[in-house]
Amino acid sequence: MPVSAEAAALHPGFADPVFDAQRLFRAVLDAMSHPGRIVQLSDLPDAPLPLNRTAAAVCLTLADFDTPLWIDDQSAAAEAARRHLRFHCGCSLPEAHGEAVFAVATDPTTLPPLASFAQGSDEYPDRSATIVLQVDRLSNQAGVTLSGPGIEHKTALDAGPLPTDFWEQVRANGTLFPRGVDLVFAAADRLAALPRSIRVEV
């Protein structure tokens, strides 16, 4: 059967959808239950630009037809990334970020305010967005100090590039608890998470 140029241009998803998704989920769970912990990843499938492999793998693991996914780059150049997500996850890709269950910021410096994403309600705080931020820099050296559930004492976390008032926004997000958004930092072959329950000292 002839393969269309469009299908041929698609990047593959997980080599083993069952076990790769399980492995990636445990990495995200490890990160979410130990905020600030940097979890190393391996054997991630290639992803079309502007997505990085970590962010794409998190989407493949968690997103599907139940979860509208917003990606910040709506340009024609990012069509390959959108096609990748649409094909492998089967998710809708709304233009309005407020409708999204998952959001991917390929350039976090232009991220809309955290408060403009779905925050959940007081009765249903789980109906809130999880935002994946693609970062170049991710380490436990210097940066902000985190404390709260999942952290034994304190953890330092440095990530970037991010909007200049980002940590101020994260602190405001924490004051909304139990409402608020949850964050995943996706760097090359490693990730960290920052749920809303965490106190941040700049």
Partner: protein, 300 residues
């Protein structure tokens, strides 16, 4: 070897993703009950379908699974759930608490302290701690939203007014990270202190009630009480009849029809390990089926 007729861990991939998303939100909001689309499982509600779905959502081929029911590895519920996962995943199972990466439990927390490499999965029948005080879901949801937990304190106070002390001995309500009043599942209150700042991740699944909730590692878990009636755990006058432990949760077992009884550890792995270390309780070796049965009969 797992049964290839089923997908790994029985559930289809979309169901696992749905459960995984619920687990992540549960971890992000400690103690809050996340609704999830609980599936029909090949066992009846009340037999741990919630815990089974949570375990199926997280388990991978490298995991080592331990399943306990009331502390024991060898009771019906524990055996059937362990067999279910052996059949559908082929993972290694163990009875040793420190060997397991996932411990699924019904109504106990192991006596052996858990590490931050382990995940404890609870089977929960009624996840809503306020349910017997307020039957309407719309109301309990509002009470959680407003942190309106006065009714729970009234319940504990009525215990004191009626009995002179807080008579709640299991399902004892806790407050997680200073925010949500949460049901620890019907564990004895003896286990509540173990939940406080536990290094392991604690996940709770309620299949019939369709709720998942979580307590992240190192999270403050406080048992509700009053300044003049502080929370306290059960104590026993006896030591374990088999391993002589005085610091574990003991079950009372009737052993004949003449009023004979013994107290034994409910945690079978803990008790077995202590006996192997040489700890001997007053009735060790005297029970039917044990090696020194005849000797014991002679003495009796």
């Amino acid at each position: 070897m797992s049964d290839g007729t089923y997908n790994f861990a029985y559930l289809d991939e979309q169901t696992k993703r749905m459960i995984r998303r619920s687990i992540l939100k549960a971890v992000a909001i400690p103690g809050y009950q996340v609704p999830f689309a609980s599936r029909e499982m090949p066992m009846p509600y009340g037999w741990g379908t919630g815990g089974v779905q949570v375990t199926a959502g997280i388990i991978g081929p490298d995991d080592v699974l331990k399943v306990i029911d009331q502390g024991a590895d060898d009771t019906t519920n524990a055996i059937s759930i362990r067999k279910f996962f052996v059949r559908t995943t082929g993972v290694k199972t163990t009875e040793q608490t420190d060997e397991a990466s996932i411990v699924q439990t019904r109504h106990r927390i192991p006596e052996t302290a858990l590490s931050d490499k382990q995940i404890l999965v609870y089977q929960v029948p009624i996840p809503e701690p306020l349910r017997f005080l307020e039957p309407r879901e719309t109301e309990t949801r509002k009470m959680h939203a407003l942190s309106e937990y006065g009714l729970m304190h009234v319940k504990l106070y009525e215990d004191i007014a009626t009995h002179g002390h807080i008579a709640t001995t299991y399902d004892y309500p806790v407050k997680v990270n200073g925010r949500y009043v949460t049901d620890p599942s019907p564990t004895p209150k003896f286990d509540n202190p173990k939940m406080d700042r536990m290094p392991a991740l604690q996940l709770f699944g309620a299949g019939r009630e369709k709720r998942i909730y979580a307590i992240p590692p190192y999270t403050e878990v406080k048992s509700l009480d009053f300044d003049d009636h502080p929370f306290e755990i059960q104590t026993w006058d006896a030591a374990c009849a088999l391993c002589n432990a005085r610091d574990s949760f003991l079950d009372e077992v009737i052993i004949d029809d003449r009023g004979g009884r013994m107290f034994v550890c409910s945690d079978t792995d803990f008790c077995t390990a202590r006996q192997a270390e040489g700890h001997v309780g007053p009735m060790a070796g005297t029970l039917p089926g044990s090696a020194s049965e005849e000797v014991a009969d002679g003495v009796g």
